[in-house]
């Protein structure tokens, strides 16, 4: 499987680490954290999954590359990758390592 990294181009899957379904972390004010609603939201966020047979939006980290966090849309039935974007929505990755590498080359 190859993942087309928006910064590095198509790279072998072994350069990446997958971090599961991309989900929004629940947001609560500090004083609301110990409420049933917050507990339920966090149990859901940490432990429960849709786990679909079909399109799945996932976080991947390009560790042996540009070190960007990516949002990958993938079909879990075929392993086809339909879309890849930066996870934070930025245009270009910011990590310092990338800059150093560019200077070095």
């Amino acid at each position: 499987m190859r993942i087309p990294c928006p910064f590095c181009g198509p790279r072998d899957v072994i350069e990446f680490t997958v971090h599961g379904e991309a989900r929004q972390r629940p947001v609560f004010e500090a004083h609301e954290l110990d409420t049933p609603a917050a507990r339920e939201a966090f149990v859901d966020y940490v432990y429960l999954r849709d786990n679909p047979a079909g399109l799945h939006v996932e976080h991947w980290y390009h560790g042996i590359g540009c070190q960007s966090w990516l949002l990958v849309t993938r079909d879990t039935r075929t392993h086809d990758i339909l879309e890849v974007a930066y996870a934070a929505g930025e245009e270009e990755p910011a990590p310092a390592v990338v800059r150093t590498m560019e200077v070095a080359s």
């Binding site: 899957v13 997958v18 940490v46 786990n51 799945h56 039935r77 392993h79």
Partner: protein
């Protein structure tokens, strides 16, 4: 038809003409007391014990393909009881005891072979961890022996003891562990259930649940609707998909696990060996092929095939452990879809939907669990209360904090 030495002999003398099909090809009746979804090892074992131990015989097992086409026919057949945590040890030891009497119990040759499971350690820290595990096992009456280098060498002299990075220091030996013939386990349970009146209905996919006032009253299938007072799900890698039909979300992610078999060679490995410095396990089938596997693919998958990068990783592990394996050709590889739970332990419990029960989250250790899983699930379906050996496998343990995380890696299903 009962199997015995005599029946084998008689058929040998009469041209093998006396054998009959092991189970009927049943068609769905309008309704049953209990419907079990999934004709894998767990579903069939559940039906068998429901009929045999709990007297519930108006039962159907619904299988979307043919029985044994799922993980139960794809695994590397290792059975063992070398767990460490309180919720797990009694359950897996119960399973091992059932394995030990299984062939007599269901009158079928499942080729249960207690050839031992040897877990290697390669560092002082790992040795300590195995001492702890071995002690926990022995405190619960499970056998465990700590071997030093020479002890391992006596069993498997061909391993690379002086590997520069991962020298073998010793191993934890669980002699009662071993292997069983996975297909025969399926057939034995199917035959035993069928003989007691259970309908095994193949090519019958469950596509929905029939509900009445919040309670399950049956299922929709590709062979029409079927009524039921109680429905149990035992669909392994498809747990999330089937549960979603009832509006449930589970603490489960599906991943593919591969296995490999080499060309047949003369007897070489007479036990099960696991590499401690990576993820790799190997045994030899009675036909002579080396059967081995390693990690799952890290990303969620419903494709019953694995990726090349995982295959490369498995073979690198193999070479580090026993370099001679590089001379063998690999005959086949295949994959199965694992129901990876969030703590690496299974779930045998009721669900928030009345009348609907779940058996799932087996990760890649569910084959060894087959007898106990069937027994405990049957207990739950027949009596409505958990069997004591499976009492920790609750669905709500993730919310209550009572997770059973044998590996200690947290809610990352691909790491368990």
């Amino acid at each position: 038809m009962r199997f015995s030495g005599f029946s084998v002999l008689r058929n040998a003398l009469t041209g093998q003409s006396g054998w009959t099909p092991h189970w009927r090809k049943a068609s769905p009746k309008p309704a049953y007391d209990v419907i079990i979804i999934g004709g894998g090892g767990h579903g069939l074992a559940t039906a068998y014990y429901l009929a045999k131990e709990f007297g519930v015989t108006n039962v159907a097992v619904l299988e979307k393909g043919w029985v044994g086409s799922g993980n139960v026919g794809r695994n590397t057949t290792i059975i063992r009881s070398n767990y460490m945590l309180p919720g797990n040890i009694p359950f897996y030891e119960f399973s091992m005891k059932l394995w030990e009497g299984l062939e007599q119990d269901f009158n079928y040759n499942a080729m249960v072979s207690q050839r031992g499971v040897l877990n290697l350690y390669h560092s002082d820290g790992q040795r300590d961890a195995y001492v702890r595990r071995g002690n926990a096992m022995r405190l619960h009456g499970v056998d465990a022996e700590l071997l030093d280098r020479d002890g391992v060498r006596a069993i498997a002299p061909y391993l690379d003891f002086d590997n520069a990075r991962f020298p073998i220091q010793g191993g934890l030996l669980h002699r009662r562990g071993g292997t069983a013939r996975h297909d025969a386990v399926v057939w034995g349970y199917a035959r035993g259930a069928d003989a007691r009146g259970v309908d095994i209905i193949e090519n019958c996919e469950v596509t929905g649940f029939r509900m009445d006032d919040g309670r399950v009253v049956g299922v929709e299938t590709t062979r029409g609707p079927i009524g039921a007072k109680t429905v149990g799900m035992a669909v392994a890698g498809n747990s999330s998909k089937v549960a979603a039909l009832a509006g449930l979300r589970l603490p489960i992610e599906s991943h593919v696990l591969q296995a490999f078999v080499s060309e047949g060679v003369k007897p070489l490995i007479d036990t099960v060996i696991t590499f401690g410095a990576g993820h790799f396990y190997i045994s030899q089938s009675d036909k002579g092929g080396l059967v081995f596997g390693g990690d799952l693919d890290p990303f969620p998958s419903y494709a019953q095939r694995g990726s090349l990068s995982t295959f490369a990783d498995v073979t690198e592990n193999a070479m580090a452990l026993m370099p001679m394996i590089g001379r063998l050709r690999i005959l086949r590889s295949w994959g199965g879809i694992m129901d990876m739970s969030m703590d690496g332990s299974p779930i045998i419990d009721e669900t928030p939907v009345d009348g609907l029960y779940l058996n799932g989250g087996w990760c890649y250790g569910g084959f060894k669990a087959t007898p106990a899983s069937g027994f405990c699930f049957a207990h739950l379906l027949a009596r409505g209360t958990p069997h004591p050996a499976a009492a920790a496998y609750r669905l709500d343990r993730f919310a209550t904090g009572r997770v059973i995380d044998e590996k200690g890696v947290g809610p990352s299903p691909n790491l368990h």
